[in-house]
């Protein structure tokens, strides 16, 4: 069977929920960030698949993907700066230990 839009959407949905699964089960900030990257990538794949198979003459999905990649890069940089700063003050990047604001 020739792979089409539905196959790519299946891959994208599976990747999204793999990312959600990682986000729910992990308690380490860096691995949670990795799950977030998987989720963002599945969204990108979705945009590209729709751009190719549903509106092939336009480029809107392509530009959304470019902008999402740029925002993901900025987000990862800021998140890792925060994580390293948290590690400096807490000696741990486990989310269950980061409870300074709780009390």
């Amino acid at each position: 069977m020739e792979p089409g839009l539905y196959h790519i959407l299946t891959v994208s949905i599976a990747l999204f929920f793999i990312g959600v699964m990682g986000f729910l089960t992990r308690r380490n900030l860096i691995t949670m960030l990795m799950s977030l990257e998987l989720i963002l990538n599945s969204v990108n794949l979705n945009f590209i698949a729709f751009n190719k198979y549903v509106w092939p003459g336009k480029m809107d999905g392509l530009f959304f993907t470019i902008f999402i990649i740029a925002i993901a890069a900025a987000e990862a940089a800021v998140a890792i700066a925060i994580i390293i700063n948290l590690y400096r003050s807490n000696q741990s990047i486990d989310v269950t230990n980061a409870e300074d604001l709780k009390y």
């Binding site: 792979p3 929920f17 990108n44 530009f63 925002i71 890069a73 800021v78 003050s89």
Partner: protein
């Protein structure tokens, strides 16, 4: 019948999903980063398969060359070598698995039932078209989002420097 293109797609999809699952399942954080790397390479391969070469190149440059390297450096800064992550609670894993499975089933049912309008033929996108559209100020051009993204990147850069500067432990 399976031709080369079909086999290539299924190989790339299997690489992406397998490495994604391994990336969230392994208890070695460094291996998780390497599996994430291969998963992102698989997605870049799918972009190549869809003949969006520019996006595939951007994916490899930004994700594989940038974000994964950043993640690996932060792992080096925050973890001892060979240290394993603590075991996950079984309870939480079961509930997360249940929620994820329900969400997956619901979304798949919705997507497979929905008839998407199918476009006609191939319109290969050249880098020249992308560049002209990105800097065009006419209706449907992307000049304004481009400028906003540049401001966002500047703000993120300044923010990272400000966060990283506060290294002195003042009130601990």
């Amino acid at each position: 019948m399976m031709n080369g293109s079909t086999i290539l797609f299924y190989t790339l999809a299997a690489l992406t999903l397998t490495c994604g699952v391994l990336s969230i399942a392994t208890r070695h954080i460094f291996r998780a980063a390497i599996y994430l790397l291969f998963s992102l390479i698989g997605i870049a391969g799918i972009y190549f398969w869809l003949s969006y070469e520019f996006i595939a190149a951007v994916q490899i440059v930004v994700y594989v060359g940038g974000i994964v390297v950043l993640i690996i450096f932060s792992i080096f800064l925050t973890h001892q070598a060979g240290e394993k992550l603590p075991k996950q609670q079984l309870n939480r894993g079961i509930w997360a698995m249940l929620a994820v499975f329900c969400g997956f089933a619901l979304t798949m049912v919705q997507v497979l039932q929905h008839p998407f309008p199918s476009g006609d033929g191939l319109h290969p996108v050249t880098v020249r078209q992308i560049g002209e559209k990105m800097l065009s100020t006419t209706d449907g051009g992307y000049a304004l989002p481009f400028e906003i993204i540049s401001m966002l990147l500047l703000a993120a850069m300044v923010g990272c420097i400000v966060i990283a500067l506060r290294s002195k432990p003042e009130t601990t």
